[in-house]
Symmetry: C2
Subunit: 223 residues, 2 copies
């Protein structure tokens, strides 16, 4: 009986995610769903890439958090349209919240919408938000065992960003084990190694957004 | 209707948590529920304290993870009785799982049972496991904003362990903001600053377990 209830909610979520997808497609916007543990650096990754993309792409950001508007305030300082979703303690974003947030944007004025999910490696994975691509962020201090321990997230992602690589000299993070476990779960996944502190890898992160947007435009032109 | 289902599950959980509590009390065991984000270092904190307590306390450990027995294997190497709970992707431990795990221990041969919850700062908070004390672990790379962003966890904890303080020189962690936000949420909470890498603060962490066990014995004697 409990399982039935969960399935029902997921079914509704999938329908609403489809509505998000259609609205974004109609406006020519590609969307990215960023999922990670709390404190992996999702907001900082967005803050770091915004200046690099300023001349090429028009970005919008949805921030998901259980409480506070701190992350939205950080993004707003960069002059990028942003909407904060507070889940009132909820552990993941759902499509109905994203659908409501879309009303706060002028979608025609955006190329890319980045959706920062609630910090959680488990619950957000099961909820399609209507995104074009999913990005899993994991930071080096969390340890190289994260793909093996949270396989669903790493199986269902298009890109993995290994963040805070500047801290590697100060900890026991076995990159060979991380890479091997990740490849086993998701042989085709792309991996970017990034440090927002030193700037290493940020160009690749910006390029990833540019290619995503170009692919979105090509798909739109051929539709 | 969804809310009714959730309430029902929580009610069942509270009843089962009470059963856990009674079985532990009858055996003279105090239990600790460790909650944190993935990769905060809960397992390493246990591995670090086990050798320090070997002569004083008989420890047992329950490891909660969505997948793998890696953490239980790490604990077992220290010669401590351990049971792994795999939640099959589930995002938190519930009392019924702990109750089943208790059967795997000789409770009369334990003083302290450490229960390492699934890595998640949101979902485990609502589920009483029958623990004596709750410990929130947060590591410095996660950022000083965690208490403000995940207030429920920090409001409902007896102890906060700030882990990986050896990394403080390499990052922008504002301890004053962290302390202020934490005190605002939970004025009486105890805070331990620890590094498992340098050993700083581990004596205090071991003492916390010793005092907890002594308090449990005193309560038992007066009962």
């Amino acid at each position: 009986m409990e399982i039935n209830v969960v399935q029902k909610v997921l079914k509704v979520n999938d329908e609403l995610a489809q509505q998000v997808r259609e609205r974004l497609r109609a406006a020519g916007v590609v969307a990215v769903n960023l999922i990670s543990a709390p404190g992996s650096g999702k907001t900082t990754l967005l803050e770091s890439v915004i200046p690099l993309l300023r001349d090429d792409l028009r970005l919008g950001v949805i921030e998901g958090d259980p409480e506070t508007t701190r992350d939205a305030e950080r993004i707003a300082r960069h002059g990028v349209p942003v909407t904060q979703i507070n889940t009132a303690g909820g552990c993941h974003l759902e499509a109905n919240l994203v659908l409501q947030a879309l009303d706060r944007f002028d979608l025609k004025a955006l190329d890319v919408l980045a959706i920062e999910n609630v910090g959680n490696m488990v619950c957000p994975v099961g909820f399609d938000l209507g995104e074009t691509k999913r990005v899993a962020v994991v930071s080096t201090p969390e340890g190289h065992d994260k793909p093996a321990k949270y396989p669903k997230l790493f199986r269902q992602t298009d890109l993995v960003v290994l963040n805070k690589i500047d801290l590697l000299p100060h900890m026991d993070f076995d990159e060979a084990v991380f890479d091997r476990d990740l490849k086993e779960l998701n042989p085709d996944v792309q991996l970017l190694r990034v440090s927002c502190r030193t700037g290493e890898g940020l160009d690749g992160w910006a390029d990833w957004f540019r290619r995503l947007s170009e692919a979105g435009e090509a798909a739109e032109a051929s539709a």
